[in-house]
Symmetry: C2
Subunit: 190 residues, 2 copies
DNA sequence: ATAATTATGTGATGATTATCACAGGTCTGA
DNA sequence: TCAGACCTGTGATAATCATCACATAATTAT
């Protein structure tokens, strides 16, 4: 829980009392590799804080897996649309490594929110960070070619390249794995 | 202001008192076509609620304009990263038609937030909607081809096609305008 | 340990797309 | 209203990418 408290206090002022109230909404779970945090068709009633390990979100379309996001330590992942509107999730979230995850229960969180305004502010800031990340990666596709997208990750998010395999990354970058392999080869030579 | 109040109340319960407190953070401005709401290099200290008209966000890279979002009536636009972290904006937001915009001032909004918890909740919900939209459009590029992205807009967001020119849309869809013209031709025939 | 699975590299080929060039249509402001 | 600015369509060509096929690591499970 120590990491989470530091994370929270990096976002907003948070009294010991707020922290105590928040506990009612939290549970910790260790997910095995390939275990699902969220399954397609379910309603997402949780925010998932990743204490260690990492996860990815992916769609499965006509049997083909399309990765849409990677989430590492000290990040929160969720299906923001499902969480906010109660609609069924169209994608999955899965642990890519054994991962210790702190789960925020939506309904208990909203109850805690009523008791401490700091928790409401925390919620706003978590969603803000999530929105920022979505915007950042969504923009990549409009601005850059596949090769430039790879270079962007190399510069701004090297941790992704270190931990995610080429095949997994290709799907995220929107190119075939063979293409990414060739892009990488061109780059290490030229 | 009537549209805005309806919009707010569609998101969260909002008392007349909260509405009155919120007024201190609001100003209304009519932007001419091509007038900038936010300029690259500026810090974004506002949320922009579009009462009528529409706007787009765009990057200008090596003299080439890349559209990253379109925003219509009853939507809020901003640079969420600049607004939240105080960093300089890397993109512009411009009125594509004469547009009546209600501007939420960040600092005054935060003051109002301290006086009414409903305003904090409103803020969280506005950011949530923004995040949902970012996720939706970011995902398009990972899941679909250019033609499928066009079909998605035709189905889910026909208002964009009705109001945005082909050239402007091509940039948003990440293809050359000639390519979008040909995709459209293929579709209307086949 | 070793068999099975998963990941990566690479060639060949066809499909898709970007880019340049140019023509005609539509909008718009002085 | 009329000239300049924008928008759309289309051909030609080169670049990029997806797909299939197969070989060879690397990893994983029993």
């Amino acid at each position: 829980m120590d990491n989470l408290l530091k994370y929270i206090r990096s976002l907003t002022s948070f009294s010991d009392k707020s922290w105590e109230l928040l506990q009612a909404a939290l549970t910790t779970k260790v997910f095995k590799k390939r275990e699902l945090l969220l399954k397609e068709g379910q309603v997402c009633n949780s925010l998932f804080y990743i204490d260690n390990g990492y996860c990815k979100s992916y769609y499965e379309i006509d049997g083909v897996i399309k990765n849409t996001g990677f989430f590492f330590e000290n990040e929160i992942t969720t299906n923001i649309n499902s969480f906010g509107n109660g609609q069924k999730s169209e994608f999955n979230i899965v642990a890519c490594e054994p991962s210790k995850v702190i789960i925020f229960d939506k309904h208990k969180l909203f109850q805690a929110t009523k008791q401490a305004n700091e928790i409401e502010t925390l919620g706003r800031n978590c969603i803000r960070l999530f929105a920022t990340k979505q915007e950042e990666f969504g923009t990549l596709f409009k601005l850059y070619t596949a090769q430039e997208r790879l270079e962007y990750l190399e510069t701004k998010h090297p941790e992704i390249l270190q931990r995610v395999s080429l095949s997994q990354l290709a799907s995220f970058l929107g190119v075939a794995r063979e293409t990414l392999s060739r892009i990488r080869k061109r780059r290490t030579l030229g």
